[in-house]
Symmetry: C2
Amino acid sequence: MTSFYFEHQKIYVSVDCIIFGFDDNQLKILIGKRHMDPGRGEWSLYGGFVRNDESVDDAADRTLYELTGLRNVYMRQVGAFGSVERDPGERVVSVAYYALINVKDYEEQLLKTHQVEWVNVENMPKLFSDHNDMVRQARKLMRQKMRTEPVGFNLLPELFTLTQLQKLYEAVNGEEIDKRNFRKRIKEMDFIEKTEKIDKLTSRRGAALYRFNKKIYNEEPNFKL
Amino acid sequence: MTSFYFEHQKIYVSVDCIIFGFDDNQLKILIGKRHMDPGRGEWSLYGGFVRNDESVDDAADRTLYELTGLRNVYMRQVGAFGSVERDPGERVVSVAYYALINVKDYEEQLLKTHQVEWVNVENMPKLFSDHNDMVRQARKLMRQKMRTEPVGFNLLPELFTLTQLQKLYEAVNGEEIDKRNFRKRIKEMDFIEKTEKIDKLTSRRGAALYRFNKKIYNEEPNFKL
DNA sequence: CCAAAAGTGTTCCGTCTACACCCATGG
DNA sequence: CCATGGGTGTAGACGGAACACTTTTGG
């Protein structure tokens, strides 16, 4: 019954993760030096192979977990990359995913353990194979998503100031935003709610801390930024 | 040097095509009954396996060519579908692509040869495996693309009337468009140029035939519909 | 007292939407 | 002469963009 398949060829399938973080008012990506051949020493995304008994999505989750120790991370597929020569060692089709994490949730210890670094997306080195293409496409999709869905909060702490949120959107879109217009838009979204807490770290006066309320959002999902 | 890969498992990689056509003022997709196990007799997208010596994109082109005899078709990747159980016979990761073709370029003979049919997207039967998901995602991406890039012309003949173009957009977006507002927008896009030719088939009065001028578009790519 | 970031409204302009009637022609 | 689809303009609503000053407080 399965003989039909045998005429065809199997291929290695891998996943590669574009892990976005927001720190120091900059959008960053986690990359590391490859410690395996081919491409040893080159900058590279973090990836892994898909096993026969797990879905491709699960492989991406697992790979991210291995690197960060984080579960239930916001992750979306970028697409499949399937040039014949994309991996110089063997034929490998890779499915890229982007993830949005809060840099503070990421233990610094892991940076050393896995020899990875946060690098500003505007300043990416040449990466292994087609990884630069993956990053480009991931950024495009992510920017798109950030405009129409409340996913940016995954890049911020639970409580954040409006200035932080604005700087995040400025970093993602690569252009400055008018503060008053930005806050006007925020005020219309009830699910971005002000708490009584005040952040005193970034300014003398102190800034109100806000929170994304998912329940309220789900009742009337209307997000635009 | 390649021993690194051997710890991992290879997987069948296939492509599936969501082939859009526009006919009788309806957006349609080409589907057929599977003539192989598993899933014999079920409605299904047309697909094929990726060979070791061709890129995934090339496999999609080839598959489309096998079915339609057409080359250089507008095609875009939808994404990878990788559930473990998506193909009941074997583990197969499939990369879906959507294509936009002019129904008139497709020889009717081929419908019989390959036992495929044009089916209205609004009225899709249950398809094999996760193919309905693929179609859903493909439509979403395609609708998105049609709004911001002049790709809809691939679904029309070289020369078309504004009413045809409007009906196409109505079918894609599932809502009626005001004729005057639509034509106002068209008039602002110089690359949709009026020819001297008149279509007398659809009305007694006759309708001006238009053409998409790619050269003019490339000089100042500003498309919005 | 001053530097540094937080916070706050109004006006203007351009874009989108709603809307109805005459035209040309084949039969 | 009439049925059928082709073709045309305007006014009002709405949303987005531009724009500057006061407040608070730690040092």
